[in-house]
């Protein structure tokens, strides 16, 4: 994959900023995350840590980074913007790399804002240690950030592959919110699903087979496979 020039990455960031739906996700995520964390805090047992309460919002924060990834690629195909995009940057892999980097940066911003808001709300309303991250440490929070960014990239690659905003959104959210919990209830092999594996980055010790590094690598493998499939498809097919 050729490295995209900085100007193509900047263009993709300008493109994302120009979508009101993406701006809405970035600004709305902290509000939703704080509300969820406050609700968890109100229901939590005494001694629950603010970090733990904030991490409980991660499954919901996934929806935000999925939206960022899906909107970035899905809006290319609503109104034929993709023709403009690929006449400006004809190298398919270069464009995919640039858009992926922009999605990663925007997902990271969204996840940071969401986690920070959740942590603040949990510390303010929770029964726990009062000092955010004092007991749980910073590492699980960083792990959650990485997992959320990777989930955003996975959703983006799936959308590039399917070229359908609604189709990719439904497929990704069904996997994360319906299939994953159902499979986990039936078999321990659910650990190999992207979000289950990724959750080991912020909930270490939950799985007897995979550690945080192993879980992270499984999620990275999912993302790499999806990006590879998306890149090969867009390099071969007509626009």
């Amino acid at each position: 994959m050729s490295a995209p020039p900085a100007r193509v990455v900047t263009a993709e960031l300008v493109k994302l900023r120009g979508l009101p739906a993406v701006v809405g996700v970035v600004l709305g995520t902290p509000v939703v995350a704080a509300t969820l964390a406050a609700a968890h805090a109100a229901a939590a047992a005494a001694g629950a840590s603010a970090g733990g309460l904030a991490l409980a919002t991660v499954p919901y924060l996934q929806v935000a980074t999925v939206l960022v990834g899906v909107l970035a690629a899905g809006t290319e195909h609503a109104g034929r913007q993709i023709a403009t995009t690929l006449t400006v940057t004809p190298a398919r892999w270069r464009h995919l790399a640039a858009q992926s980097l922009a999605v990663a940066a925007t997902s990271a911003l969204t996840a940071c804002a969401g986690l920070a808001a959740a942590l603040t709300a949990a510390a303010a309303w929770g029964p726990g240690d009062g000092v955010p991250g004092a007991r749980s440490g910073v590492r699980p929070l960083l792990g959650a950030l990485v997992a959320l960014v990777l989930v955003g990239l996975l959703a983006h690659a799936v959308t590039v592959l399917t070229r359908s905003l609604v189709g990719a959104l439904v497929a990704t959210l069904t996997l994360l919110l319906v299939v994953s919990p159902l499979v986990a209830a039936v078999t321990e092999h659910a650990r190999w699903l992207p979000d289950r594996a990724g959750s080991l980055l912020y909930l270490p010790g939950r799985d007897p087979v995979l550690g945080p590094v192993g879980g992270g690598l499984v999620l990275v493998a999912w993302v790499a496979a999806a990006v590879l499939a998306a890149g090969c498809a867009s390099a071969r097919r007509d626009v």
């Binding site: 300008v14 120009g18 023709a83 403009t84 995009t85 006449t87 007509d238």
Partner: protein
């Protein structure tokens, strides 16, 4: 110069283009004419590197579009209207295109003014009329000050004043030494501005050359087109 040579395109069992060959030369307006479904858009999409040809070549100054270093500075193009997502503003759309193409941001205001959208930069594309969408598409094509313009159905949705304006713009571009290739199914609308014409029917070139040569012996370009396509069908 834009050179299309022996171009063929197949979509499954359907042969869309058969051995399409023609050139668009600098300093001239070349009109690429034919009914809807004749294969005009398919040809232009291959020329712009969006679709792949089954056979043949489409070159810009001797190189495939995908091999151009800064394509937007060489070829400005418009396909399917504005080519922008409906929820963005016109200014945001031009701004990202300028960044990706390495074009200075001041060009955004310049092209908005040039196409008559100076007051509509903050309007979302979804609120544009068909004609305004066409003007935004043209603004995108002009952004990189390219030598060649490739426009698919640029007069669609324009009112008579808009058609007159675009004719002047294209004439000016060609007179300044630029290459202009525009497609249209409205023969009368572009006959007034074209130097050369390429007539396409059923994925085949039925006539190509100077407008005056192609229309010789016929009352209008449209009459020439129907006479030529009838002959082609009869001889096939």
């Amino acid at each position: 110069m834009l050179s299309i040579t022996g171009l063929a395109k197949r979509h499954g069992p359907h042969q869309v283009l058969h051995d399409v060959t023609f050139h668009a030369l600098p300093g001239r307006v070349t009109a690429f004419l034919g009914p809807n479904g004749a294969g005009k858009s398919s040809t232009l999409r291959i020329l712009l590197g969006l679709d792949r040809a089954t056979a043949g070549t489409a070159l810009v100054d001797g190189r495939p579009y995908r091999a151009l270093r800064d394509p937007l500075r060489t070829v400005g193009s418009m396909l399917d209207g504005p080519g922008a997502h409906r929820s963005r503003t016109a200014r945001n759309h031009l701004s990202w295109v300028a960044r990706a193409a390495g074009v200075p941001q001041r060009r955004v205001d310049e092209v908005l003014a040039q196409v008559g959208l100076a007051g509509a930069g903050r309007t979302r594309v979804g609120r544009f009329s068909l004609g305004m969408g066409q003007r935004l598409g043209l603004a995108t094509a002009l952004l990189g000050e390219p030598r060649a313009l490739v426009l698919d159905e640029p007069v669609n949705g324009l009112d008579p004043e808009g058609i007159r304006w675009i004719r002047g713009l294209l004439r000016g571009h060609a007179d300044a030494g630029g290459t202009v290739l525009l497609s249209s199914h409205l023969m009368g609308e572009v006959a007034g501005v074209a130097d050369d014409v390429v007539l396409l029917a059923g994925g085949r070139v039925v006539a190509a050359g100077l407008l005056t040569d192609v229309t010789a012996g016929h009352a209008s370009l449209e009459d020439a087109f129907f006479a030529l396509t009838t002959t082609t069908e009869a001889t096939r």
